[in-house]
Subunit: 175 residues, 2 copies
């Protein structure tokens, strides 16, 4: 029986990034955050890379879970993905933080995300009668999302809500 499981550690790592920035994501900081010694932390993740990788995988899982929630109705894949991205923004969880840390540490860690992203694009295109417009709308959603990840766009901006409505309307129109 473990008192601290891997998921707790991943959350702690995300918290460190949130508080101190991606550059300060050190093993010591993570260990301190979840009340563990560095030795204990390294017992769960043998290297820092392993921790980063687990963070990304966890983030992807979370995203896919939200995606399923958004796609229950008869809407298209595109609409579901757009909704999913906005949902992801509301409770800014692991993915954004992990993304930044990973790309700073070792861009090759993003390979799984790259693959997932390509798959989503293909699905969205295949399903739509106007693949280019579909891709364009998807890109717009990602632009807003990544803008928030980088902190370039304000969280509470009312324009975001209006953009979401407009985006979703255009998605429906496309179907």
């Amino acid at each position: 029986m473990s008192r601290v499981d891997k998921d707790t550690i991943i959350r702690a790592a995300e918290e460190v990034i949130r508080e101190k920035g991606a550059r300060k994501l050190t093993l010591d900081a993570v260990a301190a955050q979840c009340g563990l010694s560095k030795g204990g932390l390294l017992h769960h993740f043998r290297t820092k890379q392993a921790l980063l990788k687990a963070m990304l995988e966890s983030a992807i899982e979370q995203e896919e879970a939200i995606r399923l929630e958004c796609g229950e109705g008869p809407g298209s894949e595109l609409a579901a993905r757009v909704q999913c991205m906005f949902a992801l923004m509301e409770n800014d969880e692991g993915l954004p933080r992990s993304l930044i840390a990973a790309v700073a540490e070792d861009p090759s860690l993003l390979e799984p995300i790259k693959a997932k992203e390509a798959r989503v694009r293909r699905e969205v295109c295949d399903q739509s009668g106007d693949p280019e417009l579909a891709l364009l709308l998807l890109s717009a959603a990602r632009g807003i999302f990544l803008g928030r990840v980088l902190g370039v766009m304000e969280p509470g901006d009312p324009a975001i809500d209006r953009l979401r409505e407009r985006l979703l309307a255009m998605c429906k129109e496309l179907d």
Copy 2:
């Protein structure tokens, strides 16, 4: 007369990020890259933060220069900005790399970019008869751009070209 000027150092820093990743952007690495001792480097930039800040400012300048090139004709601000972003992608210069390094090091360094981004959005909105659609198109361009910055989207993807054409067409339609 200096044998190595600040601009050379900034370019060297960008090169380091390109070759080794944002995390490896160290003073030693930058000094080595531009054939300077660390002491010499620190003579030009007293702290690492100062170097980062200068990198961002330089990147913004470059972007504004490209923006002016793109906006010579009668096109709207929106069209010019979209064109500018695609031009920025073709010769992937400092801005993308600097962005990642800065956000990893200290997100508050992005403040100038945030301000500039907000200003652009305002201009684009003010000029357009359909501000939301304009913002949406701008977001799409940024989504593609940031997707490339993070390495999530392939550089040579032909879809990018098609997306650019479509985006520009929609911009013209909006005018």
